[in-house]
């Protein structure tokens, strides 16, 4: 009986962990505006947590800079499975204008499997909510397979 309760609760309250991998902060600002009362994602169950070990969904912003790469990978490795990695903005997806820079270690998909891309520069908060909803769906499928 508790199993069903726990299953429902985890499905309906995915916790987010945000990683800034060298972002210009545009996407970071849009992410916090998604979680605050105006475009409230918290009413849908999303919560920002301070430790990757508590998270279900990892949101990564920023082109992955060489300096941040080992830290980003370390933080992501601490997120327990099943997890969903969401890249926000065009920077982690391709590097955008920073593509051929000496300090960019390349798109995030080179290092980890990325589940959802939310494109935009910066994506609109409503688009981010779409992306998070898709991530929740993927997470549900991953849990179903487990």
């Amino acid at each position: 009986m508790f199993k069903k309760l726990i299953k429902e609760s985890t499905e309906k309250s995915p916790w987010l962990f945000h990683i800034n991998a060298g972002s210009c902060n545009g996407c970071d600002i849009e992410l916090v505006s998604v979680l605050t009362p105006r475009f409230d994602a918290e009413r849908l169950g999303f919560k920002l947590v301070g430790s990757p070990r508590h998270a279900d969904i990892v949101v990564v912003t920023g082109p992955v800079t060489k300096q941040s790469l080992p830290r980003v990978l370390r933080a992501i490795s601490q997120v327990p499975e099943p997890r969903c990695i969401v890249t926000m903005g065009s920077c982690p997806q391709s590097g955008n204008v920073f593509k051929e820079s000496y300090s960019i270690a390349g798109p995030l998909s080179k290092y980890v499997h990325v589940d959802v891309d939310v494109a935009g520069c910066a994506p609109r908060p409503q688009a981010v909510i779409d992306g998070l909803a898709l991530a929740t769906q993927i997470l549900k499928e991953k849990r179903g397979q487990k």
């Binding site: 009362p37 065009s90 955008n96 891309d117 935009g120 520069c121 409503q126 779409d130 992306g131």
Partner: protein, 311 residues
């Protein structure tokens, strides 16, 4: 007991929420929002200006040769796009527009690529005869009764009577298809390189280039070569001396003339001259024009606060 904001707390329980309940209530982007790119391949002329100006390097094209020409596929990677809209701004034919659609969420990279394919016919081989009077491409002296008309294939046509050989069109041509010789007064178009983008016609300060849609221009007797030859000996003297005469007449070759009675030597004209052809000395009150550099564009006359330059 002090309960600050008690009134607000209670009234907040019963007032309308300020949250935009997005998934349940649809949300439209603001007008002129720069969202998903929409490409109209039938309008594209393959000038590749969009690829050149793209900030994020998101535009790529692939050309596959087919019978009669090429099958060109232009793709826009939204995952690399900054949505700056430079591509849409620089596209002279309106083949790119940024819609108000902001829902760009994908699980695979392919979902973020917008592409369109169109067929580009190979240009016809140029006629073996030299330029016919109806469409002069170089500075061949046209027949007296001919009309200069825009070309059917969209490539630029020069109007020799208006052209001042300033070489701006050659400098701005993204394909490097124009060669303009100031000294020899020739304007040559490389048919193979020209992509008919219209940049030359847009930058020409004398509107001396015709593109499709422009009105045909009657051929005037070629601007008498003599005044230009006469101006040449004058070129050696500094302009300040010849402009000392009281009524200031504009020059025949279009270059600026200073009116010393109005000039205050503020040096604005020298600062704004794109060719760096003007030297103005405030202390000594001299205004000198470098004949060779001057392209007769008229910027100096435009910025002069005292209208002291006559074109």
């Amino acid at each position: 007991m002090d309960l600050p904001f008690l009134k607000e707390a209670v009234s907040g329980l019963f007032s309308k929420t300020s949250c935009e309940m997005y998934p349940f209530v649809p949300s439209e982007a603001a007008p002129r929002y720069r969202g998903r790119i929409v490409f109209h391949p039938e309008k594209c002329i393959n000038c590749s200006m969009c690829e050149r100006v793209c900030a994020g390097g998101a535009i790529k094209s692939v050309a596959v040769p087919v019978e009669g020409g090429q099958q060109i596929t232009r793709s826009f990677n939204l995952g690399s796009c900054t949505f700056c809209s430079h591509c849409a701004d620089f596209c002279n034919h309106g083949a790119i527009e940024l819609s108000a659609d902001y829902h760009m969420v994908a699980t695979k990279e392919e979902d973020l690529i917008v592409s369109g394919t169109f067929f580009k016919a190979a240009p016809k081989k140029p006629a073996p005869k030299p330029a016919a009077p109806a469409a002069p491409k170089t500075e061949a002296a046209p027949a007296a009764s001919a009309l200069i008309k825009p070309r059917d294939d969209g490539k630029p046509v020069q109007v020799p009577s208006k052209c001042v050989y300033c070489t701006l069109c050659a400098k701005k041509c993204p394909a490097g298809a124009l060669t303009v010789d100031r000294a020899a007064k020739t304007w040559t178009l490389d048919e193979e390189s020209c992509v008919a983008c219209g940049t030359c016609a847009t930058v020409c300060p004398k509107k001396a280039i015709l593109m499709p849609g422009d009105e045909p221009v009657a051929v005037e007797a070629p601007k008498a070569e003599e005044p230009k030859a006469e101006a040449a000996p004058k070129a050696e003297e500094p302009k300040a001396e010849t402009a000392a005469a009281a009524p200031v007449q504009p020059r025949d070759d279009g270059k600026p003339v200073q009116d010393p009675s109005k000039c205050i030597y503020c040096t604005l004209c020298a600062k704004k001259c794109p060719a760096g052809a003007l030297t103005v000395d405030r202390q000594n009150k001299t205004w000198t024009l470098d004949e060779d550099s001057c392209v007769a564009c008229g910027t100096c006359a435009g910025v002069c606060p005292k209208d002291a330059i006559v074109m």
